[in-house]
Amino acid sequence: MLRLFQSNNMRNLAVAFCENEPEMRDPFKTSTVIIQSFELRYWLQMQTARLTGISSNIDFQLPASFLWKLYRYLQPEISDLDHSPFEREQMVWRLMRILDKSHSSYQDIAIYLQQEEKRNLRLYELSNELASLFDEYLMYRPDWVLDWESSSRISTSRDEEWQVSLWREIREDLGDKSGLHRAALHNVAMNKINRDAGLPWSRLSIFGFSSMPPLQLETFHRLSELIDVDIYFLNPCHEYWGDIVSETERARRSLKAIRNKPLTDLHEDYFEIGQPILSSLGQLGRDYFELLNGIENLQTFDIFSEPSSETNLGYVKKQIFSLSYSKEKNLLKKDQQEALKSDQTIQIHCCHSKTREVEVLKDQILRALSEIEDLQPKDILVAAPNIQLYSAFIRANFKNEIPFSINSSALTDDSFFFKSVIKLLSLPDSRITGQEIIEFLEVPAIARAQRIKSDDLEKLVSWINDSGIRWEIDGESKNNNWGLPPNDWNTWKFGLDRLLMGVIMRENNGPWHGIQPLEISLADTPLLESLCRFIDNLDKLRKQINKQYPIEKWLEIVQELLEEFFDPRDSEIIAEIQTRAALEGLRSETSGADFKDEISRETFLRALRGKIEDQTSITRSTSGGITFSNLLPMRGIPYRMICILGLNQGEFPRTENVNTFDLSSGGKNNRKGDRSRDKEDKYIFLESILAAEEIFYVSYVGQSSTHNFSPTPSTIVSEWHEYLQTIFEENKLITHKLNPFDLKYFRGDNAQTFSKTWFSGVERKRYATNESKPINKQTLSVDHINLSELRAFFGHSARFFLQKRLGVYYEKEVNAIRDAEPFEIGSLDDYKISENALESLKQNEPIEDLFSQTLHTGLIPSNALGATLLKKAIRRGEAIYSAIANELESKHPIQREVTIGSFKLQVDIQNAYKKKIIQARVGRLKDRQILQDWITHLAANSIEKIETKLVHRGDKHQIRTLSLQPLEAKIAEKYLSVFLEIYQDSLKAPVFFPPKQSRALNRDLKNGKEQKVTLDKLAAEWSNEYSFSEGPDPYWNNLFDVTKAFDDEFAYLATEIWEPLEKTLANE
């Protein structure tokens, strides 16, 4: 007997299921349930346990595997076959073998495989596509396949011709197993299912399908003649809705009609559009519904429950339920209308980006949790067409705040285990950059196997940078893999040699045989050893896998790789087991298909990837938190709140690539019951509306964060929005602001954010103003001031304040690993080399050593030009040295503490000589440097009368010298106290004093310019300055409002500080 239980509520179906299963009452009897998804199975188990007290001995089966069981039962001669030889997974390899041999007899395929490049991979991928195609034919077009076999079908196209002969070849290849495919077995089964069959099942339940291939349904129908078969169907509507069609469908049919028989029979209104949501989204279920209703002797049991229309969501469900379409207002009384105004059960959010979607989602979830009594995170489902695109934002926003789990493919999961396996097998494509190695070692399982701790990584990064490692193992691999000159410079060998040499040799003693040692601490040698071994192993693996091997050998390689490179713990162990299972899967498929050919690494990688994806896409168990997952078909599991993100056009409904040679697609070949991604996705949306018990939430990116343009929402969302607008006469769409800290979110209404971070930030003023409160003195003592601190402060007062007082640093990370070796000497490196040269000469060290040591650091291009450039840089240092060499006799550093007013200043001047302080610089002299040297000069002169010489590079590479004349101690102290007072004030509130601009101001004022004019000019020029000169940078710009900072106070300081300096400064 075939019974249909239909309801608009999944819970009703579960109740009916428990009541109908007599086996439930006998723990020793097995109930067999055909079910499509893991989640639904889990949910049904939980429901059964709740309703009956226990859920046990239920045999859940996927329809395909149940049918194979049935076939085996009916045909004892195949009872020892676990899989059909026509199963897609095996068929891939069989096809690959066949096509490799005989592709020349298929013209199109021969052309496709013509090119040598990646031929093996293309062969595999084509086989993969064809295997899926034949699998679909067997399921949805069994009659074609049988006709092909009996030669009773005339090919209608070139594509069909070659597919028929390929099919024959497959059958020949399979020999006596050539009849064991679904189409043939189905026919046999249909004949054998009779009273004599003695089936092992007495009843079957088919739970929660919203569509089913006609072939399967036919089998179950036939079975129902012998045993009881119960179908549980989630039916959104209790009216008959088999003949309503969507607008698009109607358009297509109409166009076809006009084309075929113009001017006649235009029955525009023949097809009912009816309830717009049901007609536009429900086609998939409707086809199934029609198939079911076409079955004779079907007993139907309606267990519908009418949705309550108290909320907006309930009202929509009720409309769908009753196949009606009317405006809400007409039906409700005034007070009810009022109550619905604040209704939040249906929400549409339009955001600027994926990040914003997740931020908005979090706020709305928090609101729901705070407003709805006993709502738990586990009652919330968040889905997206591709949740993987959101996982980073989800983690960033929800971690440590609301429990959650993300169900997505394992290839993207947290542990990076699978990704690393894939990456290791992709090594031949890689140039082995420093960054890639660090990324490997960031994976805990890999680091553990190499005995590298996570705190070691920082050290490794600095080793890579300092030793000049950029890419490739050594010169030889550069040559073999990329056809480049076999030059070791900037390779791993180059850098590791430097580090190893550094264990036994001092840097000053290098280079030895062209290796400049890089000293490391002796305690770090085990780490270095681990690193060397790791690189070595990677190199070996890389060389090994850059070949073609039979699949057996590939499996062996991966098994060794798992041993060698991974030491998994916790969840990584599961990942490792899954990887091994994937390998086992590949082994049995290929041996089943008798496939022994050698395959390329790319092919193996693609196959392994596919296998891992297949195996791990089965969702892992729920965690008690919010569930994030992909939008999946055939679930319809009730959740109290369902949110769908990323509903943009092009992304949802998801598009499915149909191969052009697919005979079952395209216009006239479509049949009722065919699979279609488009219909499936639309039905998922409909199921989600029904499954949402309290809140149904959708969001999409409908605004651009960079341009004034609006990305389009999915058509489904547009239709949904339009529909809601019609029935509620109210806009359900919430358009969000670009930033989460927009004032809109702080007004205490429905848009109020729950974010504490932004709340505390929102009221702060951005710039320091005269009215801002000074910071308390706190820890920084101003009694004892170091001369170097004073110098640093006047070099850049904003940077000093932010770094020293607030601990704010805007510098870009210096430790970024670079991918390519130097092709020139960068200007900063160039300057440093000149400076080193000057320093070495001052220390009387031989300059040749500096040359050869620097040459082998990897900072210099490896060609002849590198050496020339290096020489030039050193020569600049030498030139400055020669200008000061004569002055450098009898060094006598000035070290003392001086008391100036209430301040005690620690003075330590090393570059002081007899009667002179020498401030030598290899570059040009900047205004801030003059200012700093002036401070030193003042400090020195408060102790003894002494001249300062400022030697530097002028225009046209000449050496220039400025001098600061000696001062009386009293005068020096007077000037110095100005600096000290400003410094003291600056510890309470920031001081705006850019040296270059203040000097320019003082000069202009002295030349008789008007103060106001000059200040305006400086403010205007500020933004035109290059940053990192002495102009605008994040420190100045974040601390001060530049339109106001050039004020009278600034002008006063400029004169007070620069005027005495300029007087003392003399050109030489």
Partner: protein, 400 residues
């Protein structure tokens, strides 16, 4: 632009609409779409579905706008069948209708399917082709297509430095680095030419050899020293501060040193040109060496040109290899890939694309570059007729 245009345009072959901004080019495109939807082409009366018309423009925001305009225009046209419209084009459209009921129905159909209108950017179109027709393109089925640029060009330029420039003899290396100091400079100067398959490069092969140049340098140096050109110049009666005179000593040093510097500014000072400028007809300065230097400079210029060709070809070769061997494609790689597939006579891509879209329209055609033009010219060129009398046409619009 008058509404007449859209009626007068022949809907076969390749058509170009050229007009200045704001004169209604997009309006015309919408009208042409109406004609196609109603089967009012002058080739065949079968009405097209909206997803059979390929509409291309240049930015994503322009595609969004075009979609809206097309939709609104169809809506207007549908309404014109109910309430007489003042729009001349629509008026004609309604008046010329052989069957008003059917035409209105066709427009209603088009409205219902309007979200399936094929309005793309050229890159979007290429990405779609590569994804949906891998078999016809001869590519793998799972290529990853990114919105960003791939690193292929950058790597190719770096590799040219590594394998070519850095392994040259010092003088040539210096000469090359004077053209491009870093791979980045090379990438900037060469990047925009790489994807233009129609460019033919001249000179096709090296005109000058390295040895020839070095020989000439040696010769000049030898003569300068042996015939003491410095003193010849000193006695030539040139003004004291003449650049020729002040640099003669430096030139002697330069000729004495073993280093060969082809980029030195000194060469340019001692050419006959410069000499006749300051001192015409001086017998001392009629020395043959100056002509030799001039010839050398020409050699160097030619050699530089051949170096540029060499770099171009080297990088292009690398690029083709990386594009075919990588599973990952960046934005820049899409067009060349599709172009290759369309030009490959063995593949059936062209045929499949025409089947899918018998008509294509390109808005903002002035932005089309030669690769893009090649692609569409190749698809829609009427070499042989396809499936009977359907013809392909493409209006283009252009700002001048």
């Amino acid at each position: 632009m008058s509404s007449e245009i859209a009626n007068r345009i022949n809907l076969t072959g390749v058509q170009l609409i050229e007009a200045s901004a704001g004169t209604g080019k997009t309006y015309t495109i919408c009208n042409l779409i109406l004609r196609l939807l109603l089967g009012r082409g002058n080739y065949r009366s079968e009405p097209l579905a909206i997803d059979q018309i390929l509409i291309l423009t240049f930015t994503i925001s322009a595609t969004e706008e075009l979609k809206t305009r097309v939709r609104n225009r169809i809506l207007e046209a549908k309404n014109a069948f109910e309430i007489p419209s003042s729009d001349l084009f629509l008026k004609n459209l309604v008046e010329a209708s052989p069957d008003k009921k059917q035409d209105k129905q066709l427009l209603i159909n088009a409205l219902r399917m309007v979200d399936q209108a094929c309005v793309y950017t050229i890159h979007g179109f290429c990405a779609k082709v590569l994804k949906e027709y891998p078999f016809e393109c001869g590519s793998t089925f799972n290529q990853e297509i990114s919105d960003e640029k791939s690193r292929f060009v950058q790597t190719a330029c770096e590799d040219f430095f590594r394998s070519n420039i850095f392994s040259r003899s010092p003088p040539i290396q210096k000469l090359m680095l004077a053209i491009w100091d870093t791979p980045k400079t090379l990438e900037n100067s060469i990047g925009s030419f790489l994807n233009r398959s129609e460019l033919s490069v001249s000179p096709a092969k090296k005109l000058v050899s390295e040895a020839e140049i070095l020989k000439s340098v040696e010769e000049i140096k030898r003569i300068w020293i042996e015939e003491s050109l410095e003193s010849v110049i000193a006695d030539s009666g040139l003004r004291k501060n003449s650049r020729i005179k002040t640099n003669a000593n430096a030139m002697t040093d330069f000729c004495k040193s073993t280093e060969v510097d082809l980029t030195s500014e000194l060469w340019g000072i001692f050419t006959p040109d410069k000499i006749t400028k300051v001192k015409k007809g001086s017998p001392q300065l009629a020395h043959g060496i100056f002509q030799m230097i001039d010839d050398l400079l020409l050699l160097i210029e030619n050699y530089k040109a051949s170096l540029k060709v060499e770099a171009f070809e080297h990088i292009k070769r690398d690029l083709i290899i990386s594009r075919s061997s990588s599973e990952f494609l960046g934005v820049d790689d899409l067009l060349p890939k599709v172009e290759d597939a369309i030009h490959n006579e063995n593949l059936s891509l062209k045929k499949k694309l025409i089947e899918k879209w018998p008509v294509a329209m390109i808005d903002e055609f002035q932005d089309t570059d030669s690769v893009q033009w090649n692609i569409f010219q190749e698809i829609y060129r009427q070499k042989k007729k396809w499936n009977g009398p359907v013809a392909h046409w493409r209006p283009k619009t252009s700002d001048l």
